[in-house]
């Protein structure tokens, strides 16, 4: 009977494993500096994620990616599709910072900041809280279904599902004003897109952080595959000091390992039990290792107990392990860092110099030019104007580049509400003796009436009749 239960248990167990049979990993909880740092970073990052949409900025949500209106609000700034270059710049900066930090400190991202790690940690806290510490969880896995097991398992899954739903809703809250969204969600009155995306994101969080966990890192994450390309012998890694630890072996407390010809590793396996990806760091650097430093803290606890010096497992570099000096400032790091600085400076200046008005000029493709009368040639352009500021403004169009050129728009003063766009026809007239042939460069300038510094320039070509 007990045998059968175990079999059933094993079966039920593997049913939610995405990949080949895998032992469920129950990492042991450890305490130490690095785990405290990780807890801090998890709380900070999740605090930002869940809290940010609730911040108000004046009349509106501080961070809101308003897709239907095609405007991104980030605190005091509003970005338009015309500002796409900043989004691209932001992505490049993000990628480059990843390179920079990876070259410098290895998989810092994985251990402390990756959403996968952060949410897994949160889900594990719930697991620990409902099902108890490692030993108890393993026992619970093996035990037959009882009232207690149902209660513990049930409350874990309930909390997980609620958390997943809330996470999904928060995600949609970045795209739809969240206070209104939650009110409508409470009344089961969400639109189809909102329902779909919140369930989708919630489901992904629940599945990835609750069940897949380290398998995401091992099988699904592209970063885990290419990060090693940014490593060199001076990159900070987490490593076991083989020289010092071997030969490993159990021993009573208080003896001098040197006398017995032993190393400092007492082979207690705590570092293995603590590892969320289930590897043994003593076998060397493995690509499954997400550099969470749990094994460092676990091992340091043991070293303290044994009254050995700490750091049998520690942050170090390949060079340091071999007794060579490590260099922090090396060409790779300097180049990444320099590029990063330039890009960040560029993005900041670009954003602060961003014009509050945008204009695109299209020449009328049907007619090259028109002779208004015997003395004057006319070209027609179609202008698309966008007022990016949050106040209504009036603009006037000017043109330069040819002598005696003039421009007519109707209306003469173009009025645009906050965030408004308009298509305007502009007729540019030039005396016939001032132009010859096609392709004369001219420049349009759109100037705000209340503030001449708010303007947008655009080049265009003016076509005239070829001289006979």
């Amino acid at each position: 009977m007990a045998q059968k239960d175990k079999q059933n248990q094993d079966k039920g167990h593997s049913s939610h494993e995405m990949y080949a049979a895998r032992e469920k990993i129950h990492p042991r909880e450890v305490k130490g500096i690095f785990q405290n740092l990780r807890i801090l970073s998890v709380i900070a990052l999740l605090g930002i994620y869940y809290g940010l949409p609730w911040l108000q900025w004046g009349e509106r949500q501080a961070v809101l990616f308003d897709l239907p209106a095609r405007q991104f609000h980030v605190f005091g700034l509003t970005f338009w599709p015309q500002d796409f270059v900043f989004l691209a710049l932001l992505l490049i900066i993000a990628a480059l910072s990843l390179f920079f930090f990876t070259a410098l400190a290895g998989r810092l991202w994985c251990g402390y900041a990756c959403p996968q790690t952060v949410w897994t940690e949160l889900f594990m806290w719930i697991e620990r809280w409902t099902e108890g510490p490692r030993q108890k969880r393993i026992k619970l896995d093996r035990s037959p279904w009882s009232r207690e097991k149902i209660l513990r398992r049930g409350s874990k899954h309930l909390l997980w599902i609620l958390l997943g739903l809330w996470t999904g809703l928060t995600f949609v809250g970045y795209f739809t004003p969240i206070s209104e969204l939650t009110t409508r969600a409470a009344a089961f009155d969400l639109g189809p897109w909102e329902t779909f995306w919140s369930l989708f994101y919630g489901f992904a969080t629940w599945g990835n952080a609750g069940f897949l966990r380290e398998q995401v890192c091992i099988y699904m994450c592209p970063y885990a595959r290419f990060q090693s390309a940014m490593f060199d012998r001076n990159t900070l890694i987490i490593s076991y000091d083989e020289e010092r630890g071997e030969p490993r072996g159990g021993r009573p407390r208080g003896i001098d390992p040197k006398e017995k010809g032993m190393g400092d590793c007492i082979d207690c396996n705590l570092c293995v039990q603590a590892c969320p990806t289930g590897i043994d760091i003593r076998q060397g650097l493995q690509y499954e290792c997400i550099a969470c430093a749990a094994c460092i803290d676990a091992c340091n606890q043991v070293m303290d107990k044994m009254e050995y010096p700490r750091g049998l497992i520690r942050y170090t570099t390949e060079n340091a392990l071999e007794g060579n000096p490590s260099r922090v400032l090396r060409p790779r790091v300097l180049i990444y860092g320099l590029l990063l600085l330039i890009l960040i400076a560029g993005a900041i200046t670009g954003i602060s110099l961003r014009s509050e008005v945008n204009m695109e000029v299209l020449a009328d493709r049907n007619v090259m030019y028109r002779e208004v009368d015997f003395h004057t040639v006319e070209n027609v352009y179609s202008l698309r104007i966008l007022n990016k500021s949050m106040e209504a403004r009036s603009f006037r169009l000017e043109v330069s580049g040819l002598d005696d050129v003039e421009v007519l728009t109707r209306p003469e003063v173009i009025q645009l509400g906050p965030g408004g766009t308009d298509n305007i026809n502009a007729r540019v007239r030039v005396p016939r003796d001032q132009v010859s042939g096609p392709g004369n460069p001219i420049e349009f300038t759109l100037v705000a009436e209340d503030d001449p510094s708010v303007q947008s320039r655009s080049r265009a070509r003016f076509h005239g009749p070829s001289p006979e």
């Binding site: 995405m18 897709l67 239907p68 796409f84 989004l87 691209a88 779909f196 099988y219 592209p222």
Partner: protein
């Protein structure tokens, strides 16, 4: 009885993991870049002015189109690599 349960074939799940997931990532990026420069509303006016499609619907359709295209390509890759399927080893 506990040993043979063909329904939970890990290969199938693995196949999904190595096709659905990368195409999802790429579709996310592609729709970001695409819709940052192209307004689905403008696209609709150019192509199907008679049909009412909201912007949100436009984004979603676009995202799933990218996803499907990526998925098709990933599936072909898996097929050509021959790592999955009855003859694969």
């Amino acid at each position: 009885m506990a040993t043979n349960e063909p329904k939970k074939d890990p290969r199938l799940l693995r196949l999904l993991g190595s096709t659905l997931w990368p195409s999802f990532l790429v579709a996310g990026m592609a729709s970001g870049v695409f819709f940052a420069s192209i307004d689905p509303e403008a696209l609709r006016l150019e192509t199907l002015p008679g049909v009412e499609i909201s912007r949100m619907a436009g984004y979603t359709i676009g995202f799933f189109m990218f996803w499907l295209v990526g998925l098709a390509s990933s599936l072909l890759t898996v097929l050509l690599l021959g790592s999955v399927g009855s003859r694969g080893r």
